[in-house]
């Protein structure tokens, strides 16, 4: 029997689920192996008999918590899908500001839409089984993940830094050129796509298990970056991680 898949979205840009629709060449083949039973962006059907739930987005409302717990109860496997679900991601940037400043800044008044809270990761609310990292997720990594599950193999993420992939592409090092780049402490698997376009790695795939933050900070300090600036680079995606700078 084909495994049944549900795709659920909380606070996010919905780019990660869009990456599934972006599997233009593989999508029809993929549908031969899995059954999508709940995916509001793409289909009318809304069933609850899913085996694997992909959770996109961070948890930013009390009402999200109950919904997420409900999905966890129904799903056999729950996957944090993309940086917002995995790390809090961009959504966690608002946590850096006092909560009573949020509503006035956007709506000009504070008496509206009170159902908002500090941004949380999916794992802060329910146990997760797997993570597919990235902002956005990598389509290839998603396909390999589904393939592994179909074959009964435990999916694995690389635990070496983006630097390894970057060097193997023969890129000139951005840090050596004096630019900030978090590739040396960030989990690989993206093919170093940003530094390959000469744009620094902002850490969207999260940190490796043993990142040498101190060494990177020393080098960036030598290149003239202030503590504040380095901190700001880390908190673009990793604001909820405890990082000592």
């Amino acid at each position: 029997m084909k495994p049944k898949i549900g795709v659920f979205s909380f606070s996010s840009c919905e780019g990660c689920q869009l990456q599934i629709l972006n599997l233009e060449e593989e999508l029809t083949t993929l549908l031969g192996f899995i059954e999508i039973v709940n995916f509001r962006e793409a289909i009318d059907e809304k069933r609850e008999d899913y085996d694997i739930a992909f959770i996109e987005g961070s948890i930013t409302r009390e009402s999200d918590i109950e919904e997420l717990k409900h999905i966890r109860e129904k799903a056999k496997i729950l996957v944090a899908f993309g940086a917002c679900a995995d790390l809090g991601g961009i959504n966690a940037l608002k946590n850096l500001h006092p909560q009573d400043s949020w509503l006035p800044a956007v709506y000009g008044r504070r008496d509206l839409f009170s159902d908002t809270m500090l941004t949380k990761r999916v794992k802060d609310i329910v146990p997760i089984d797997f993570t597919i990292p990235g902002c956005p997720i990598d389509k290839g990594e998603f396909l390999r993940f589904v393939q592994s599950l179909l074959l009964g193999v435990q999916p694995r993420l690389p635990d070496y830094p983006v630097c390894v992939e970057c060097r193997s592409k023969g890129n000139v090092c951005l840090v050596e050129e004096g630019k900030w780049c978090l590739g040396s402490v960030t989990r690989a698997g993206c093919g170093a796509i940003c530094p390959t376009f000469r744009d620094p790695c902002a850490g969207c795939r999260g940190l490796t298990s043993a990142p040498n933050i101190e060494s990177l900070c020393n080098i960036l300090t030598e290149k003239g970056y202030s503590k504040e600036e380095i901190k700001n680079k880390f908190n673009i995606f990793n604001g909820l991680e405890v990082i000592n700078i």
Binding site: S9, G15, R40, E45, G89, K94, C135, C194, D199
Partner: protein, 436 residues
């Protein structure tokens, strides 16, 4: 007759929204288009950050129009910093806006609208009953995404598209590949026009105020002045005289008006405003598809998207010709020597407006003398359409009231979907609820 229509979480739209409609004795007692997507507070996130971080952060407002957000943000930054992008940079940004418009319109037309035309609940049964149609849609979408992949690494959250230019200027072989991809789209675009020629949109007309940017000699997507019929053209910096935003209690998105009028933005508004500047191939498609401006049928926004797709393919090819000719003679990035310009911040504000696939997109930032953002405002196309969608529902309901409840629901969802609402974007959106 009394209906309580409650469509919770309208499907096949981007983001979360509800329609609440309460009809008693043939009269609408209650009508709300509720945006229930959680607010994300981008205006808060930006405060205290370096202005150069605004484009990659605001790209994350929306996965489907990330390039438009990046472009509007970059334009606001450049306006605030006094940076004038080079001609080559502007040309490449225009190609990227076309590519995003193509992928967004095609996703909407083939994966979200086409199932309605066949009475299918989604693209999945459609793929089983009409595989050729779905495959064509996916081919076109892939082509549009491939253009982005070649130029900025990917469509969702473009890489290296920064203030002053691109961190990696395209090589001649990249432009050749983009040309090859665009040329490969032409037969499928032709088939797309023929396909929509066979499917007529529902008849329904309600005139409104059509808003977009406008440029004298070009179908405006990247540059232009703010325009709606009977209004003087305005510089983008004066946008607050053009549109006003109001907070609505039942929605996490805001309502937008121009003067006292609800407005419509997006493909139909742009065609109504700027038809004379669209390419001849696109005019030909518009004639075949029965789209004559000014068109006041919101369902025809779908058809306007088809017309724009044709334009975007041919216009991109034209831009490529210019870029090709320029590449060896003019420096690429904006510092006069081909590099990225130095940033010399001073206190001030900057406004950037582009036409995203769904309509005009505004970004405004206030910065201090260190280039740190002190205030930010983003006005999103779908938010501008919300009030107009409510007015359309109000106008269409009396005409369809005698239909069975399911048919009413279906028609209302089709109406909302014709606007191609992007809800995650406008939270700063939809469910039809019937109450009985």
């Amino acid at each position: 007759m009394s209906h309580d229509i409650n469509i919770k979480h309208i499907t096949r739209v981007e983001g979360h929204g509800n329609i609440v409609l309460n009809i008693r004795e043939g009269r609408i007692e209650e009508l709300r288009l509720e945006i229930v997507e959680s607010p994300r507070f981008f205006e808060v996130m930006l405060i205290g950050r370096n202005i150069l971080e605004a484009p990659p952060i605001t790209s994350r407002i929306c996965g489907i129009c990330a390039i438009s957000h990046t472009a509007a943000s970059i334009k606001a930054c450049e306006d605030a910093l006094g940076i004038i992008p080079s001609e080559n940079v502007v040309l490449l940004r225009k190609i990227l806006l076309h590519a995003e418009l193509l992928q967004s319109h095609i996703l909407h037309l083939y994966l979200l609208v086409a199932p309605d035309l066949f009475g299918a609940g989604s693209v999945i049964p459609l793929a089983a009953s009409n595989p050729d149609i779905v495959k064509r849609g996916l081919r076109l979408k892939k082509a549009a995404n491939d253009i982005c992949r070649v130029l900025v690494g990917r469509h969702i959250h473009p890489i290296g598209m920064v203030v002053g230019g691109f961190t990696k200027a395209p090589a001649r072989k990249d432009l050749d590949e983009v040309r090859r991809i665009l040329e490969s789209m032409i037969p499928d675009m032709e088939e797309t026009v023929s396909f929509f020629e066979e499917h007529r949109m529902p008849e329904f007309n309600r005139p409104t105020k059509y808003c977009s940017i406008r440029e004298e000699n070009e179908y405006a997507l990247y540059n232009g002045l703010l325009y709606s019929k009977d209004n003087p053209l305005l510089e983008v910096q004066r946008y607050k005289e053009f549109i006003t935003e109001n907070v609505v209690a039942y929605s996490t998105a805001k309502h937008v008006r121009s003067g006292d009028s609800p407005i419509m933005v997006g493909a139909l508004a742009r065609l109504n405003n700027n038809y004379s500047n669209i390419s001849d191939m696109a005019k030909n498609a518009a004639q075949r598809l029965g789209l004559a401006v000014s068109c006041t049928n919101p369902f025809m926004n779908n058809i306007a998207q088809v017309v724009e797709c044709v334009h975007s393919v041919y216009d991109s090819l034209n831009i490529l010709d210019v870029l090709d000719a320029n590449l060896s003679s003019a420096p690429f990035n904006s510092d006069g020597k081909g590099g990225l310009p130095a940033i010399e911040p001073h206190e001030g504000t900057g406004v950037g407006v582009v036409e995203a696939p769904r309509g005009s997109l505004y970004h405004e930032y206030g910065i201090d003398d260190k280039g740190i953002i002190r205030s930010a405002n983003c006005i999103i196309p779908t938010a501008q359409n919300l009030l107009n969608i409510e007015k359309d529902i109000e106008a269409i309901v009396p005409a369809i009231l005698d239909l069975p409840k399911e048919a009413i629901e279906r028609r209302l969802e089709m109406l909302v979907r014709a606007y191609d609402p992007c809800i995650s974007c406008s939270t700063h959106f939809l469910e039809v609820k019937f109450i009985e």
